[in-house]
Symmetry: C2
Subunit: 416 residues, 2 copies
């Protein structure tokens, strides 16, 4: 097993295009950039070493296939290699790494599967660059709304279309990446937990049954700009004064819901833009972005409604104009019960402790689940830290994850 540990440690660095994982600024491999492409090239290299067949689909997803028979079903595993700005080297990468390691183990022991096995390296999973997440898996299930995306740009004004074409892809063809129902049989993703439940409960593996997808609100407040020095306190329409209490309100309401309800909910005022943002001018406009998640869609909706009501009160109290827009309203996802049970069984066979849980973060598997039976496995990450340079999971967890996938793939593709 020591040899596998070493192989996984080496390949973890290779997929991160780094000599060592301990990098103070973390990794920045945004979707549809040459940095993501470099990681994909490492994936192709490792897959080739394992004797897999590589190809890229029209959306830019990289595929590595252990092809047994064109007419046999295909079981897919995988995750993504892109990161947020200054993110960690485990989010996404471990799912690709464990999938490759599982295939390596199966090949090393001369196992011959009765189905094709595909490793998918989804493109542009994070929303960090374009504010849109899981682009690659959306394309696979035909949920990529190209017309809506045409006007979306990154912080430097580059459109998605431009970014896609800079990768050598054709924007017009991107929707052709969509797969038919019969092209895959099932899909399993492995990911770091990005939370502390496994660590705190001493569980080796998380088996996910539900994925909380967000309601995202944009709250826009318009007051009146004026000179900070010459406008008396009682003659102001300060947009920031009017809406700042909403930050506490969202936090306190979410805490209250968690006290009163069994199903967890999280809510965050995560973005703020103040205009004109000049020392001597009263803020005339503030825009806040709010992210609300729970596997219980009704809880999310109720909080969103309470936020809207609160905004109306602030509007009256401070003589400003407030609009609340639903940026995103995604219903939460239940994963396949049968797959879940199979994964639990595999962990039991391997003597690994499990925790059945929900995911507070979205993953490519949530799109795949709309078309195929799907499973999601978590491995622990240190202190739940993620999307940061400090993100870490021990090699032991990587090996556990690889073994779960190996055992699962073997069970599912066994010929007799």
């Amino acid at each position: 097993m020591n040899k596998l540990n070493k192989w996984m440690g080496n390949k973890l660095c290779e997929l991160n295009v780094t000599e060592a994982m301990d990098v103070s600024d973390g990794f920045t491999r945004l979707g549809y950039t040459k940095e993501e492409l470099s990681a994909h090239h490492q994936f192709i290299k490792i897959a080739s070493e394992l004797g897999l067949t590589n190809y890229q689909d029209q959306a830019g997803n990289q595929w590595a296939v252990w092809e047994i028979d064109k007419n046999a079903p295909t079981i897919a595993v995988g995750s993504h290699l892109d990161t947020v700005y200054n993110g960690g080297g485990y989010d996404g990468v471990v799912g690709v790494l464990c999938a490759l390691a599982a295939i390596k183990m199966l090949k090393d022991k001369q196992f011959t599967p009765g189905k094709n096995i595909a490793v998918i390296c989804f493109i542009s999973e994070e929303s960090a660059r374009f504010g849109v997440s899981t682009i690659g898996s959306k394309a696979l299930v035909g949920e990529l709304e190209k017309t809506d995306l045409a006007t979306v740009t990154d912080s430097e004004g580059i459109t998605i279309k431009q970014a896609v074409e800079d990768m050598g892809l054709t924007w017009e063809d991107i929707e052709q990446a969509e797969l038919g129902k019969d092209d895959l049989e099932q899909f399993v993703e492995l990911h770091i937990e990005q939370g502390k439940q496994l660590q705190e409960n001493n569980a080796n593996i998380g088996i996910v049954e539900g994925i909380a997808r967000p309601i995202r609100l944009i709250v826009k407040v318009s007051g009146m700009a004026n000179h900070t020095g010459t406008t008396p306190m009682n003659q102001r329409q300060d947009a920031f004064v009017a809406i700042a209490p909403l930050v506490s309100f969202v936090n306190e309401e979410a805490l209250k819901i968690n006290r009163e309800q069994a199903t967890p909910l999280v809510a965050t005022v995560s973005t703020a833009h103040v205009k004109p943002n000049a020392m001597n001018i009263i803020p005339s406009e503030v825009e806040l972005g709010i992210d609300i998640r729970s596997v219980d869609d009704d809880l999310k909706k109720k909080l969103a409604e309470n936020i809207k009501t609160y905004c109306l009160e602030m509007e009256k109290k401070y003589h400003v104009a407030v609009t609340v827009t639903n940026l995103v309203d995604n219903h939460s996802i239940r994963l396949d019960e049968t797959t879940k049970q199979k994964l639990i069984d595999v962990c039991e066979t391997l003597g690994l402790t499990t925790r059945v849980m929900d995911s507070g973060a979205g993953h490519d598997v949530m799109n795949m689940a709309s078309k195929w039976p799907c499973g999601l496995i978590f491995i622990p990450c240190l202190d739940g830290i993620s999307h940061q340079p400090d993100e870490f999971t021990a090699t032991e967890n990587l090996v556990n994850g690889a073994k779960v996938l190996e055992n699962y793939l073997q069970t599912e593709t066994q010929t007799e």
Copy 2:
């Protein structure tokens, strides 16, 4: 008088380098830019038409002098032509315009002054570009701290040094713009009020006795970034949740001080920067900028102290790190009593109603006052609106202002 109205209306447009004042995006003439320089060129043109001698000093201030005798004292009037981003066309401009109009009236009636009269067009009065205000007048009184400024840049990374040299000036020589005590006898600035006191009290002219200069604080909060979907509400160190209540605190404390004290105070949380400002990441850092003004320095200091105490409470309550830095701590200014009285007398002579008041905004005159007896005159502006495209004052007010300066200059430079 109709002819003067027309002349002032024309020159107002000329100084704003525009065909008409009603421009939807307002005027953007930041300090030390070619836009400011264009306005200076208009100033030179008008001054030349009036037979004045033009020159530029080492800091970039433009001078137009009615020179009578090199050995006679010089009385100066003027203001600035730079603006904030999308500012109005009256802030600064009217002080230059009324000074030129006053000279025109004196010349039209064949008056010969017994002293030299200078119109100063101060460079880069607004802090909009570099976060530093009244650069030109600071240079004149030797308060420009060139060493501190060397590292200051605008939003595009251009240093002040670079900007100064792009104007054809020499950075090394900028301090040579400093004047000796005897180079001027006195200085009077005219400006729009940027407040509503004159309008609400039906006064034609404001006579300013005190200028409230700011204490500016930067509050920096460090929490912990983490995934918004996977981090339970009770395990967060959200920097924005921790510091948002400060916005209300500052507003309420300022309102309270105004209820309890005779001297007004204004306080504004005018800037905010949230990091990483991404929808799916809990804010790890928030920086707020606070502007506090009153002519009573003790009131300012007391509020700043209360803010610091409040920040310590938030630090403990939300398990974040908070630092409060004094960005600016300027003592407020009392203008010359004699000049004030003379200006009141002039207004009485002219039959103009006056209001003796303080200024909540800083002006070039506050620097000039450290070296010479100084006065500051306000003319009303519509609804107190300023630093915006809507900024407006009627021609009648411009004519009143010009007449006050004309009468004042005549009285002060009368030969017998």
